[in-house]
Symmetry: C2
Subunit: 225 residues, 2 copies
DNA sequence: GAATTAATTAATGAGTTTATTAATATTGAG
DNA sequence: CTCAATATTAATAAACTCATTAATTAATTC
């Protein structure tokens, strides 16, 4: 036992296979999502991600080369699937917008519970001007898709199924503003007794209450209460 | 004329007084607000602010020492005044919440036109977890103020002036979600013909339409249309 | 008009971040 | 069993950021 200076618990080299532990690449992605959502992309270094995952910075480089590429992978493997999953509701319920809106809100909220990083990243993407987001997202979400969504809203309005005063291009942003924004905001309020009772369910009920009585076609069409 | 290497157009020293140009400190604050709003605080260096203002990094240090202190100054001199101005509406119209809400929306939108940085910074503050925002804002906005706002909403609900299904703690966030978030988002969509028609007025009308028919006390109380 | 204060630039050191390389150890295929 | 592929660490160079200082020039005050 040549007692040299104990400088590190671990020396280079491939480790012995662990029993069913999640693979390192996935763990880096998990932690990257968490940190990007909490602090923003700009404020999160590759080293920080690796450190928090208990790895060396070189590991992050080994798997992703750069932060940009890591982010690209996140978009493809994590963000886009969650997003298309949520937006699918409008195709599934094309005939009944009010039901679609309610389900959309509930699925947004459920997604937030399942994937806590989801909301913050979406909001950040919406407000960031020159971030990596812009270029990377644009590639995947085309203008046609957006046009189709707006057209659907206009059609519902023509059919008398939706408040004609609603601006089609703003409906989806409004939905996010009523659900995702509160979800993200309340997390910051943890520990404040004034808002201790606000959870996903409360937010969903609040949003639906505001929407069903505001987005409905008729003025006296009292479905609620 | 000792022809040395021409290395800079300007040598050290206090400049001759300019004719009524805005003072440098204010220009740095202006540009800091713009960049903080567009890119976030973390992604904006003091040097970048100075460079964009056509000054050296040392100027930023001369006036503010650090980015944190610059941000402190911004909060006190720019952000807080705008914010208290907007929130004052609820004290001015304590007896008529529906009118207060409409005015609040309109003033939010007007503020955004006057101070384009306002919305993005507010949203960023709401979603940022550990940023400088948190500590600095908490000092100025106390818990009592927030409790008073929530109580006002509850009182309106008891008086039958507001939809009882609304969650008091979420009302203000919802208002921001319906106005400020869209305002910030549309700026990112510049150049997209699908949303070229969306301006401050359109957003305000959309938000008011959603709110008046959703937040009103009675179900058949058809004030709109 | 001399002394003090204000405003500015150039230069720089300390600290971080990014990206990379070389060395090392384990696995798995043939 | 050998060897190529895979996974990991240590170490490091280049670039950038932050904050700071010394020198320099103009304005103001007395």
């Amino acid at each position: 036992m040549p007692s040299e200076t104990i400088q590190s618990a671990r020396r280079p080299g491939r480790p012995a296979k662990q029993a069913a532990s999640k693979d390192q690449r996935e763990r880096l992605l998990d932690i990257a999502l968490e940190l990007f959502a909490r602090q923003g992309v700009a404020d999160t270094t590759l080293s920080a991600i690796a450190r928090k995952a208990g790895m060396t910075p070189a590991m992050a480089h080994y798997y992703f080369k750069t932060r940009e590429q890591l982010f690209d992978v996140l978009i493809d493997e994590r963000i886009m699937p969650a997003r298309t999953d949520i937006e699918a509701i409008f195709k599934e319920h094309a005939a009944d917008p009010m039901r679609a809106l309610t389900l959309f809100v509930e699925r947004l909220v459920a997604t937030h519970v399942r994937l806590p990083w989801f909301g913050a990243l979406w909001i950040r993407e919406m407000i960031s001007d020159n971030d990596i987001f812009k270029q990377h997202m644009r590639k995947r979400f085309g203008a046609e898709q957006q046009a189709a969504k707006f057209d659907a809203v206009r059609r519902w309005q023509r059919e008398g199924k939706l408040n004609p005063q609603i601006e089609p291009a703003l409906l989806f942003v409004s939905l996010l503003g009523l659900t995702t924004l509160p979800m993200v905001a309340v997390r910051r309020w943890q520990g404040d007794p004034l808002v201790a009772h606000i959870d996903a369910q409360v937010i969903a009920r609040h949003a639906v209450a505001l929407l069903t009585q505001g987005v409905g076609p008729g003025l006296a069409g009292a479905q609620g209460i």
